[in-house]
């Protein structure tokens, strides 16, 4: 399990102890914290699991692949340099204490 902080679309901070077997999308979606839709169930087909991971973490994890970058352009909120599709990130790859911010909307 990894302790994360999730900042929801209203700006409220939530502590989330996430199962390392899951994707970040699954961990947030299943936690009851609103703000992730994931229409496609985690296959990088829908761009509705958009998150901001912060520039430090973005540097650590490395750039997303070409397909993910292409999908991010179609997210409801325009992507930032620290944008990712949370279905493409494993909880196991996140450091304890990582702060993940959810965009205002996924639609």
């Amino acid at each position: 399990m990894t302790d994360l902080t999730i900042i929801d679309p209203a700006g409220t901070r939530h502590a989330l102890t996430a199962d390392t077997a899951l994707s970040l999308m699954e961990a947030i979606r299943d936690s009851g914290i609103g703000g992730i839709i994931a229409e496609c169930g985690g296959t990088a087909a829908c761009a509705t699991c958009h998150v901001f991971i912060g520039e430090a973490l973005a540097a650590t994890l490395g750039a997303p692949d070409e397909h993910e970058l292409g999908m991010l352009d179609f997210a409801a909120i325009p992507p930032r340099p620290d944008s990712r599709l949370s279905c493409q990130i494993r909880v196991a790859d996140l450091p304890p204490g990582a702060v993940i911010t959810l965009p205002e909307t996924q639609l």
């Binding site: 229409e39 496609c40 169930g41 087909a45 829908c46 397909h67 999908m71 352009d73 909307t105 639609l107």
Partner: protein, 398 residues
Amino acid sequence: MPREEMMAKPLPVVEDVSLAAMFDDPYPTYERLRREAPVAWLKPAGIALITTFDDMIAIERDHETFPANDPRSLQIRSMGHTLMRRDGEDHTTERSALVRTFSPPMVKSHWAPLFQAIVDEQIAAIRDQGAMDLFGAYCAPIAGRALAEVIGIPDVDWRDMLWWSQALIDATGNYGDLPEPWERCARASAGIDAAIDAHAERWRAQPNPSALSAMLAAGFPIEKIRANIKVAIGGGMNEPRDAIGTLTLALLENPEQRVAWQADPALRRRAFEEAVRWVAPIGMYPRSVARDVVLSDTLLPAGTPIGLVAGSACRDERKFGQTSGLYDLNRPQAQHLAFGSGPHFCLGAWMARMLVGEMAVPALFETLPNLRLDPAQPAVWGGWVFRGPLSLPVHWDA
């Protein structure tokens, strides 16, 4: 038996609904089922209907309990074994060869200019007429021509795409095992196979982003190529055709929303999503049940064929409120299920958003002055497994 299954009620049987009434207007039946029996055996159809949003989401998140692969599937008989009837790794591997063709960057960069040219040609063909039934004069040709391009069989006439698609759909729905749909499907299938062969040489010599070219490049065996082309035709022709009609009719019937939409292109995506939510072009799609399971307090025995009724889930009052049956592009944005959810989420979703929401419908309102419904010939809706306006007579000032 687990306690949950002991406490669950048996699958209720619904016998007092006719399929003809469902074809005409399924929505009152859906509303009743959501309220009284969200998991119910519809006897005339021989399938258990799942009519609520949350149950559909749960099913699409559990492919082990609710597999898409079903040996009884009529689709496997009509089209061959397509990616739509595979699960897990088998499905992901097959779909991955097609992702790039249908990806939103490819739609935007490669397909959009072709779509615009098709729309422009179709507008030019009708703009001097002053009155047409848009179904055959606009919706069907645009959907057919656009799909032929994306699939990779661009030399095929849209009229062939139209009857091929209907033949595949009718055979796939041929639960009564009548001979005519199988015969027509066999003819369509032969035509599709010939079109594939005719175009394959071109793509082998000079690959393009189409689905056929991508599958050839991926080294798929011919049976797999044929099956997936057929499911793309069966699943990608009628739906954009119907979505063009549904969105057009929604705007014509709601003048205040039409005015707002015409004034602001930023509303196009929302207007499109609301149209397919309001009348989902695919109203129902099947799954099977691999083990006894409880859904909405109802016991579904292993082996029960189930139908996920997107047309109902998209009007679930628990998600969309008491006005769920109305077209309202101002309603709070929420996920709908017209494209499904989970791993089988519609590959054509981004193609449809562009072709229908950004191009085909805006072109009608931008170029046909004073576009309005024909007061003497009302639009005709039809279907429940697939639903859309079968006839959409309009007038404009030509």
